[in-house]
Symmetry: C2
Subunit: 314 residues, 2 copies
């Protein structure tokens, strides 16, 4: 097996390049100073841009498989694009790795990245490599959508109904590495949602972002929050609902729907995505930033600030 | 002074966001899942995409100033965009740093980045942060140019004349941190150059990339190669010309001009950029990949493969 040190930069870049597919929209792929891409001209589009770091020891443990690392790096970007309602278009990836890394590990990482990318029409057209003490991927993504149609975090109004896809909590057991970014759902929701965010910091933390940006509060219906099987299985003394509220990296979509469209929406969702649940979990309220969890017995608990924060140890 | 650990991720992101300017083309800046940007609709454009890592201990030493680190991160991206002939448009930056980093260091980094960016109309519209063992910046850039007009590395033909801007060698003394990316020159050269690359791996290494992609060789005129004052001053036993040939990170533009346009080009350059020298240093030849350095006494030396390669220790 070859290490990156033995391989050298140019051979590494060549090896990586073989993972990147061609496409008629890619005028010049890897190999020049920049990639050259051509947008559509038959529509007036906006572009959405995002970048996500993936750092060994922070975003994945040392025992994560290389393929899963690649999957997660691209999945995080696709989840961000989905949360805007955008169609994935182009990506670039910077790889940082120690010189002692086996070249086959790089193959597996890029295999994981491009498998997920190609499934969603996301073209990785370039990037760069550098030496470092741990493995890192920095994935950059560009998505497109009709002009003015991006679904922002700031669009919710009082009375809008809050929904979340899938189930929440316990993702650290497995799901944070192999999740399925909600790319199709995000684009479909562009025609329905007033505000949207992907659940990466945990339901409570991301709902707070959405409330802060929309200048609303939210009453959550505790019994309606979809708790994942993984969270229920954890048996670590923390109630499963707390895992669903506070665990990070579910990568589900959290969004609001105007109350008037409620019935139309739930019917349309069931028809469009029969295999993915979508739970009505709350309603947007007047007092900015006040997020309350309402229990079946009528008890109401205001949620403190939460969610994962990098750099914080307190 | 606050450390990043004390500040926490959200306050850090807020602090960084203050460095990022608004613009009418930025529909939604930092704060959502993605930035939303709007391209021009009055022209048919291609987009060029590039990303560059900047890693402490690899791309800058521990004693580099924070402002210089920021300058270099954006400068590298702008230099890549220039090498395609593109106009800088949008950027994203991922910051990796230890929790013990002072928040003021981050301010200085972003000050260095945005000072250079704003000078060239490059808008940094977002990015992300993560914890890591050393400081890293991963800058991602999008540039625009008229459809089909990107200047590639592959466009040189036999007989084309090779030029380079500025002076080469010895950049490690200072210039690699405070260089001026050739943004205006790159765009201007779009109407003249048949092939172009920025000198980041060293003249010999980057000329090899250009020759390989263009399927040509090159005869360099040794006495015409512009050796920088820094290279002449080094006095380290290596001839200054060798520094000019092999040192990396000059970030000058290396490009080819058809022989028929030679006089027109040199006159036009002198008029357009009276304060930046542009040296005619060689001619593209038939034998693919054969790069020779021709000395005034007629001696000819074939250049071996060279230039900085990450991961290589041999």
């Amino acid at each position: 097996m070859l290490t990156l040190q033995e391989l050298g930069e140019l051979a590494l870049v060549e090896r990586i390049t073989q993972w990147l597919p061609g496409d008629s929209r890619v005028i010049t792929g890897p190999g020049d100073d920049c990639a050259v891409v051509r947008g559509h001209t038959d529509a007036q589009l906006d572009w959405v841009l995002t970048s996500d770091p993936l750092v060994q020891g922070i975003h994945f443990a040392d025992d994560a498989t290389a393929r899963a690392i690649g999957h997660k790096a691209v999945g995080r970007v696709l989840s961000d694009l989905a949360a805007m309602g955008a169609k994935p278009a182009w990506g670039l990836v910077n790889l940082v790795a120690p010189g002692s890394t086996n070249a086959e590990v790089v193959d597996d990482i890029y295999n994981g990245m491009t498998s997920l990318a190609s499934k969603h029409g996301f073209l990785i057209v370039g990037g760069d490599v550098a030496q470092g003490s741990v493995v890192e991927l920095h994935a950059f993504g560009i998505g497109e959508l009709p002009r003015g149609s991006a679904v922002l975090r700031s669009g919710a109004t009082i009375g809008d109904v809050l929904f979340v896809t899938g189930a929440l909590g316990g993702s650290q057991a497995e799901n944070h590495l192999c999740f399925d970014p909600r790319v199709q759902q995000g684009q479909w929701l562009r025609n329905w949602a007033t505000a949207m965010i992907d659940v990466s910091d945990g339901l409570a933390g991301d709902l707070r972002h959405l409330c802060d940006m929309s200048k609303t509060g939210c009453d959550l219906n505790a019994s309606a929050i979809p708790v994942s099987l993984a969270a229920k299985k954890l048996d670590d003394g923390t109630p499963p609902l707390d895992h669903a509220l506070h665990d990070g990296e579910d990568f589900e979509l959290l969004f609001t729907i105007p109350e008037d469209n409620l019935n139309l929406f739930t019917e349309a969702w069931a028809k469009a995505f029969p295999n993915l649940t979508c739970s009505m979990i709350g309603i947007m309220t007047e007092q900015t930033g006040l997020i309350r969890c309402i229990f079946p017995d009528g008890e109401s608990v205001a949620l403190e600030h939460g969610g994962y924060q990098h750099f914080n140890t307190h």
